[in-house]
Amino acid sequence: MKRKYTQLISAVLYNCHITGFVNGKIYKGGSKGICVPGLNCYSCPGAVGACPLGSLQSSLIGSAYRIPLYILGTLLLFGILFGRLICGFLCPFGLIQELLYMIPVPKIRKNGVTKALSYIKYVILIVFVIAIPLVRLVPGFCKYICPAGTLEAGIPLVLADEHLKSQIGWLFSWKVFVLAACLLLFPVCYRAFCRFLCPLGAIYSLFNPVSFFGIAVDRSRCTGCNACIAVCKMDTRRVGDHECIHCGECIRSCPEGAIRYRSLKDTTYFKITKE
């Protein structure tokens, strides 16, 4: 429950420009030069910070003559500090998915297929976030895929602005279709976007093994029962691997009390090894 409060507070803080939702105008203050850690469209009327993924793509579009050090450094900083703990605690779109998953309908449990599908997000990262902006000079993920942008920005702005509404075309229809498909999937498949599509999660996953904060396993207590993996709804193979969002569900399931959150004071790293 504490994690839900953290998620909710971060979602509210990221989008606290309430008047934007009323008048359909986006925030133009100086804080928009700072990226929030989670996926949150900067064209959302309430957004007071920049989207790290949108900023990365726009920086790559204009990067013909220089490396986008600021945004790359920002992503590196978020990643090395928190890894995918950001996904578990600080992402509004992750919160939306978890809330929809609470709807009591049959669920698709993780299996070999979902594990394989979890690698699609790395392809999306390479193709839509990196290659398309560099080659086609458009933010590929934002333009063709991002359901968060459609939900948080596209629909509210189009509803509030007649001029924007008059410009709707096939692209808007496509993005609404993508959003609708996601929203239908979220009640039956836990965090489907995070697991299969999110390129920001793909970036942060690279830092999971070395991030300062996250889940740790005390190997001296671990018996290898894998109760942690059984209870985990993400496609993890071990606690704290690249699919782990550090939600802490495994902590409660461990019969030996071997799992905890590590902190800056914790200089030890552990992992479960199959005996």
Binding site: I26, G33, Y42, S59, G73, L77, G154, V158, V210, F212
Partner: protein, 49 residues
């Protein structure tokens, strides 16, 4: 408990590199570029452009 100090060293190196890149990026105008993009409606993001 096993102390895997190389991992911690890697973490610190990446942290220092991240800070250095951010500072260099700010000096280079990177934050200004992010701001200039973020204060305009992203037409691609909302499905118009």
């Amino acid at each position: 408990m096993k102390d895997k100090s190389p991992k911690r060293m890697i973490s610190v190196i990446i942290l220092v590199a991240a800070a250095a890149m951010m500072i260099a990026g700010i000096a280079d105008g990177g934050a200004r570029d992010v701001l200039s993009k973020a204060v305009m409606i992203c037409m691609e993001c909302i499905g118009i452009g």
